[in-house]
């Protein structure tokens, strides 16, 4: 379970990225967070694993509560929360397998990660994670040689190798074309269904949000302005969240080229 209580984030420049957010997420939910860019979606997600510290309020993830964790406890929290990034954040010069093994870093003794001599069981977990996103045949290929969609699947595998109980995805399809976007979203949905991992996904395409989410959360100017089932999130709701009428840029199918 994840719980936000009066969560606030104020950046050094004075920008208030999150304001008084109260939110409760149950285990196994698939939640899509929508909002314009700058509405606080990234901040909300990064507050869960402490990449962005709260300036007031609390976030509880399982039995750990931020802020107030020491470095070790914070790393333990992060180890149980997998993260997927818009720009994949793979080491392009390393092999796919070595990238996925980064998901094991918390569980691996330092001398093993420094020398690159991972245990067989960690390699096995990494291989299984690659099999889940059906890209295991690329295990020894350099990550930089893969297409965008393939790289994002490796990104998902890296998060899965953590054996997480929560999965955070920050605009996972924003760098991908529409067909590939659906492929990636389907993997995230399958993982949520089959493994029961609580999943939060930031998106700005409302059709994707409606197609894959159980529950939609809307943010505007750092405030929670919508929280309800995806089925009820119609265009009027999105116009309310965005604070303007919808355009072709707001739907994936409206994207040019295809």
């Amino acid at each position: 379970m994840i719980e936000f209580e009066g969560a606030e984030v104020r950046y050094p420049g004075g920008v208030r990225a999150l304001q008084g957010v109260d939110l409760r997420i149950d285990d196994g939910e698939l939640i899509v967070v929508v909002g314009l860019s700058g509405a606080g979606k990234s901040t909300l997600i990064r507050a869960i694993n402490g990449l962005v510290p709260l300036t007031s309020g609390r976030v509880t993830v399982g039995e750990r509560t931020l802020p107030g964790l020491d470095r070790r406890a914070l790393r333990e929290l992060r180890a149980q929360v997998g993260m997927i990034f818009q720009s994949f954040n793979l080491v392009s010069r390393s092999t796919v397998l070595n990238n996925v093994l980064m998901g094991r870093l918390h569980h691996v003794p330092l001398w093993r990660s420094l020398s690159g001599l991972y245990r067989a069981q960690d390699r096995e977990l990494a291989m299984e994670a690659l099999e889940l996103v059906e890209i295991v045949e690329k295990a020894y290929v350099r990550a930089g040689n893969l297409s965008g969609g393939q790289q994002q699947r490796v990104g998902i595998a890296r998060a899965l190798a953590q054996q997480p109980s929560v999965l955070l995805a920050d605009e996972p399809v924003a760098s991908l074309d529409p067909p590939t976007s659906h492929v990636v979203m389907r993997y995230l949905q399958q993982i949520n269904r089959e493994l029961g991992i609580t999943t939060l996904i930031n998106l700005h395409f409302l059709d994707l949000a409606r197609a894959y989410a159980d529950r939609v959360i809307g943010l505007r100017d750092g405030r929670l302005v919508y929280d309800g089932p995806a089925a009820q999130a119609d265009e009027a709701v999105f116009e309310e969240i965005y604070g303007r009428s919808l355009t072709a840029d707001d739907v994936l199918e409206g994207q040019g080229g295809l």
Partner: protein, 298 residues
């Protein structure tokens, strides 16, 4: 804590084939070659490795003596020697800059055709390859052993790097202005003056300054063969166990080198990035006549 597997992978895993771990030939080759070189050098070199163990103890004693004998008395001589090293480095840099400058444009691919460019590049490479000490020794029959010999040797040796890297800077300039000058009827020299220099000069000058920083170190090194400067000063002090000179000489060379580095790197940044926004705004106010003698319509 580690569970045996990432759960639920059964169905999909069955259809996929895991690849064999490929043999990392490049990595193994590098490792084997490096280990072989290391082993050969370690066994066969004439080094008494056991003395490494005494070194820390001796270092403590040595530093202790340096502190005990610390004295400002030789400061004048040390500063004089340091100044001489800086002077040698400066003259060498100017010499290298002046001698390499014409070659830069002959070595740049966007200005000179390859029939001329390739030989010039080769000449630059030769200058780059010759160690300063070799040049210095070759010059001794003509110039004797002194600071001028060092400056000329380092100047000639600087031609190679200065020429090559400056040519690379010239090659990286924007092509547009070159074509513009050509289109308005400018010849080779006009192109150089109005299209190439404005774009490349700040970086080239910054690179000269960088070479100056390097040359200070080189001039200190050449000091030990007798061209003068701080290198010879410290080496002689070490040879004769004049501890107050060793300590002070080290202090002077460290502080002076770091000081010159700091000044030079600040100048280089200023050269490449131009004046700070604040200074730029001040100048604009001054030139558009915002001051008391302002002549604008308002």
């Amino acid at each position: 804590m580690t569970r045996a597997s990432v759960r639920g992978s059964g169905a999909r895993a069955a259809a996929q084939v895991r690849p064999e771990r490929p043999f990392a030939r490049f990595r193994w080759t590098v490792t084997v070659v490096l280990l072989a070189l290391l082993a050969w050098s370690t066994w066969s070199v004439d080094a008494t490795w056991g003395r490494l163990l005494q070194a820390p103890g001796r270092a403590v004693g040595f530093v202790g003596t340096l502190v005990e004998t610390a004295s400002l008395e030789p400061l004048g001589v040390a500063l004089e020697a340091m100044w001489e090293s800086i002077a040698i480095a400066w003259i060498a840099t100017l010499l290298g800059a002046a001698l390499s400058f014409p070659l830069v444009f002959l070595a740049a691919a966007n200005l000179t055709r390859s029939r001329v460019r390739q030989p010039v590049r080769q000449v630059l490479n030769v200058f780059r390859a010759i160690p300063e000490i070799v040049l210095a020794i070759a010059l001794i029959p003509f110039l004797g052993l002194g600071p001028v010999t060092g400056a000329v040797a380092m100047g000639i040796s600087s031609i190679g790097t200065l020429g090559k890297l400056s040519a690379e800077i010239v090659e990286s300039i924007d092509d547009g202005p070159l074509q513009a000058v050509e289109a308005s009827g400018g010849g080779r020299l006009e192109r150089l003056r109005w299209a190439v220099l404005p774009q490349a000069m700040p970086e080239i000058a910054a690179f000269w300054l960088y070479r100056f920083e390097i040359n200070i170190r080189v001039s200190a090194v050449l000091g030990v063969i007798g061209i003068g400067g701080i290198g010879g000063f410290i080496a002689q002090a070490v040879e004769r166990n004049v501890f107050e000179r060793i300590g002070l000489g080290l202090l002077v060379v460290i502080l002076a080198t770091m000081l010159v580095d700091a000044i030079s790197s600040r100048l280089r940044r200023r050269l490449i990035e131009g004046p700070s926004p604040a200074a730029q705004a001040r100048r604009e106010r001054a030139s558009t006549g915002g001051g008391p003698t302002g002549d604008d319509a308002a």
